[in-house]
Amino acid sequence: MPAVVSQATQLAVKADAVVKNFGETAVLRGLDLELPTGEVTVLLGSNGAGKSTFLRILAMLTQIDSGSVSMHGVDITENGPSVRALTGSVLHAPMLYADMTVRENLLFFAEMYRLQNVEDLIAGTIQRVGIEPRLDHRVRTLSHGFQKRVALARALMHDPQMLLLDEPESGLDSESVAQLDSIIADYKSAGRTVVMTTHIVEHALEIADRAVVLNNGTVGLNSTKPSSDKAEILAAYSSKANDQ
């Protein structure tokens, strides 16, 4: 029994035969994927390949139609709130209250996550993402890039085991992308897991431990050496993109 638990907890994500349809459209068609703890995984694929849908399933915003998904050995469909505490997510929209300040947003979400020592946590997190000067600005007045940084702060504040990032670099300048890379590297060195989607493939392959190319809702290619398999991954990615 302990061996099973140990094996299960080494896997950050285990997806078995996951099917997700939106009406008549099949997005995930029996997706099987195992992601070990402590890795940076980049999900690649053309538009509609199912990357964002899979990320939303991991964030528990979208329910699967069949199959199973577990995180750190815990079935996500059975253990909602406790599994959500394991993840921090930055999805397409910043998901912030535009008429509240950065501080008010972070304080509010700290209450939603039932965090203690909130002021210290916020101070540490905003320094990490570089938004200290904008702390008392309303989110509405911030650029898209800064809003994305605030969203990242919200995702990091509860120190989750897994970071889910959906095209995190979109709208960020080069300085912010470098900062994001550094946060991802810190996360990895702390033994945490990062799962991200991107369309900036070459850059992602430099920082990732694993590249997964999704094709028609299944895993088309799963590489554990993305920087050395670059040509193969780029070929798989490009051919899928061209298929669209």
Partner: protein
């Protein structure tokens, strides 16, 4: 338990803070309800007899119709900014989100009533500043918020949500509306608590049933 109450209060307080800054909902609800009252004052040749007769109906119909406007807006804001998804990411059960949003809606409608009821008292020349009115208002507002929050969540992703919400909301709150109108009538005619007890009991039963059922249904509505 205290943790859950803190989450519910935090969501309600956040909605109130946003409302204080934007004044979207209270202005819409109070403005609409006042408009209904003023139109009826002109439409009906008011005297003391018919004011007592029609006043309670006009008041609660106005608040119910105006409430729909506010309920629509309160949830639309969460969806437009995708902040509803941010709440769904948090490790809290969905029923706490429902209760927090219902608390916010309760506060909006209550504030709107604080504006509307004194104007009603002046226009219809009725004495309404009584404990009975406070009880009726509280019970009716709890029911409106309980049902309205659920249906606002159901209709918020529908393209014709402005039409959908009243179609869902108004038939369901009819028993509560009847209880509010009948209790208020008893009050303006100067009758005792015991005369209106059955209507207040109906309102209590309605509130409890819809708070429990709506909190249960709400979690299924949020999922894709």
């Amino acid at each position: 338990m205290m943790g859950s109450l803190a989450v519910i209060w935090a969501i309600g307080r956040k909605d109130l803070l946003l409302e204080i800054r934007n004044k979207d909902v209270v202005v819409a609800v109070a403005g609409f309800a006042l408009l209904v009252l003023v139109i009826f004052t002109f439409a009906i040749d008011l005297n003391q007899d018919n004011a007592e007769l029609v006043g309670p109906g006009v008041l609660w119909a106005g608040i119910a119709f105006a409430g729909v406007t506010g309920l629509n807006r309160a949830f639309a804001l969460e969806v437009e900014g995708s902040t509803l998804e941010a709440l769904m990411l948090a490790p809290i059960s969905r029923d706490l989100i429902y209760l927090g949003k219902a608390l916010g809606n309760f506060l909006f409608i209550a504030v709107a009533q604080i504006i509307v009821i004194p104007v009603f008292a002046v226009l219809f020349n009725l004495v309404v500043f009584r404990w009975e009115m406070l009880a009726i208002s509280l019970l009716t507002t709890i029911g409106f918020s309980a049902v309205g929050t659920l249906f606002a969540a159901m209709s918020v992703r529908v393209r014709a949500r402005e039409v959908m919400l009243p179609l869902l909301f108004l038939p369901v709150v009819t028993p509560l509306l009847m209880a509010a109108v009948e209790s208020t009538s008893h009050m303006v005619y100067g009758r005792s608590w015991s005369d209106m007890a059955q209507w207040l009991q109906l309102a209590v039963a309605f509130d409890v049933a819809f708070l429990v059922v709506s909190a249960f249904i709400f979690q299924h509505i949020l999922e894709d």
